[in-house]
Chain length 353, copies 2
């Protein structure tokens, strides 16, 4: 697959973002939702900030306190044997079964804007910040679906009771209406289709199950975007391939003559994240038509291979102009990059399933 990576990559790095609070450092500006608004490309960044610990023997875990409307910092000693600090993203309690007890950073959403799609400036303030009990560990990995003049923004809401997907909407990227949690925990990587199909809205989603099963892609339907049902399993992991470990929707599905094109991420058990594609039936998106054998994008550039969590390309949005797919993507859980691909080349690369 021919990929044109922008010369200015990475387009945004943590150094381009001022911390929102004293005593914090920005460690990530990545996995942005993408929209076109008022002549600008909007990159709705996930900004991750880490409290700077004055004591090198301690880690500070940030938690949003709903009553105080401010962050509380939990101090944990690195030599405390109850905790596992080996994953830089999370703090695991060895006496508990979950995959984490605290996160090492707090994520929120912040806008970067561009007239040309290459040169971005970052807004001075957060656009959307944790605000309620289901968001106390942060809000992550936004996607944006434009329907008419309304932009629906949905994101992972992380808290001690799990990870679900919550939604807000805006018409001007200033005022925000909250719609609550639209997919209960554990769920991530929701992608709402940009129009109704046969009278129904559709969304891809990615439950993580504890009983049995793998992190795979599901589809649901709705008549108002707020309430979702008729959940169906859509596509699963493929042994020995680039998407054998985990997967989830990536970008808002693109309507093409051949079907709905979903650019999704897949990873190996070693956490190498690539982007691939799946084609869904135009009239019934729960029908899978074709899928990438090989990734359409894989971590190759230095900024994709090295960073806070390396070997990751993770796209949350595209802008499509004719045959050109401008795909904006997070790299190494650190920065934002972009590339261009041919829509026809992606479609032609898919293998019928």
């Amino acid at each position: 697959m021919e990929v044109y990576r922008y010369e200015k990559n990475p387009l945004i790095t943590p150094m381009d973002v001022t911390p929102h609070k004293e005593g914090f450092e920005v460690i990530g500006a990545f996995n942005a939702g993408i929209a076109s608004y008022n002549g600008e490309v909007i990159m709705l960044l996930r900004v991750a900030e880490r409290p700077i610990s004055p004591d090198p023997a301690c880690v500070l875990a940030p938690v949003y306190n709903v009553e105080q409307r401010d962050l509380t910092l939990i101090e944990l000693r690195l030599d405390d044997e109850r905790y596992d600090f080996s994953d830089p993203r999370v703090i695991r309690n060895k006496t508990q079964t979950g995959s984490f007890q605290y996160l090492t950073s707090i994520s929120y959403l912040r806008i970067a804007r561009s007239r040309d799609g290459h040169n971005f400036t970052v807004d001075a303030d957060p656009f959307l910040y944790p605000s309620e009990s289901l968001e106390t560990f942060g809000i992550e990995d936004p996607r944006i679906t434009q329907i008419g003049d309304t932009y629906y923004i949905y994101y992972s809401a992380v808290s001690p009771v799990g990870i679900g997907e919550s939604m807000v909407s805006t018409t001007d990227f200033v005022e925000v209406t909250r719609h609550g949690m639209i997919f209960g925990p554990d769920n991530k990587d929701v992608l709402i289709f940009p129009e109704k199909v046969n009278g129904k809205y559709y969304a891809l989603h990615r439950p993580t199950t504890k009983s049995t099963g793998n992190p795979e892609m599901w589809i649901a339907e709705s008549d108002n975007l707020l309430y979702w049902g008729n959940h169906k399993h859509l596509i699963g992991l493929r042994a020995g391939m680039w998407d054998c470990g985990r997967m989830g929707g990536g970008c808002v599905p693109i309507k093409t003559e051949r079907g709905w094109l979903e650019l999704y991420h897949g990873a190996t058990p070693e956490h190498r994240y690539c982007m691939g594609a799946v084609l869904l039936d135009l009239d019934d998106p729960s029908k899978v038509l074709a899928r990438s054998r090989n990734p359409i994008l894989e971590p190759e550039a230095a900024y994709e291979k090295q960073g806070f969590f390396g070997d990751v390309v993770f796209a949350c949005g595209t802008l499509v102009e004719g045959d050109v797919v401008k795909m904006y993507y997070g790299v190494a859980d650190t920065s934002m990059a972009a590339c261009e691909l041919s829509l026809l080349a992606i479609l032609d690369s898919l293998e019928t399933v």
Copy 2:
């Protein structure tokens, strides 16, 4: 709490149920949904049947095959070191992270009927049987909400991709309309309120999360019973108490003058399942008013303490007549029993939270 257990308990045991298929034995007739229809008490049993293995060194795991529309039996050797057979309900693959790979039995739904609520006869045939890819490991623990003349029946749908909650409806307990999966995986213990509250339907549900969090009770809303959203965490585990290990909704919420009364199950980490109660605001069921300090029912009778999986009382439905709550409940994952409690006594026992 004063509890009147029926003299005929257990009301239904596996011996009262003929296997639906040659070569199978009924090991459970339990966790029934309850409804009043046409002058009869309907007990919609979860019947669990186990394939009889001709070889004592092997276990047969039943899986519904959608293409063949029949069960396939997977033969597993008890000395196969990849598998863990220590839990009688499931077969775990030690090389995988999930809590099971196969179940040891297949569950489906079957009707028992009674004119007096004490003496039941079991229908000759299954009422609802696994029929699609999300049900290949069986359908479990039904609940029934009557709204007008329609009975909404929802149950855990178990398959290799996880456990979700699916729904059907009927007006005559003969013809069934399917509504698909209403809560995606992992989710169980859904309880739909019997009427709209302030223009919305509500349901309790019980996600099981892998990331962080515990098996606790959530609430969601809907405008058509099929699509659900605005998920909120409702109540959680209480350290050191009878509901410190896991919990979930039990019976369809009962409307009282003081609020919506939900009889729910809680268990210890040692899997001792009791029933307790929580009171929710009449006008906004996402507000918790009061809760049981002590269980209203705990495993004490021999049929509650001993069985396929002992020390379990697990109610899925009640019939309420004036102050009398007739609570039907599964015992020891084996049989069905019933008891009567005073509604006022339950309400008076609750502690304000």
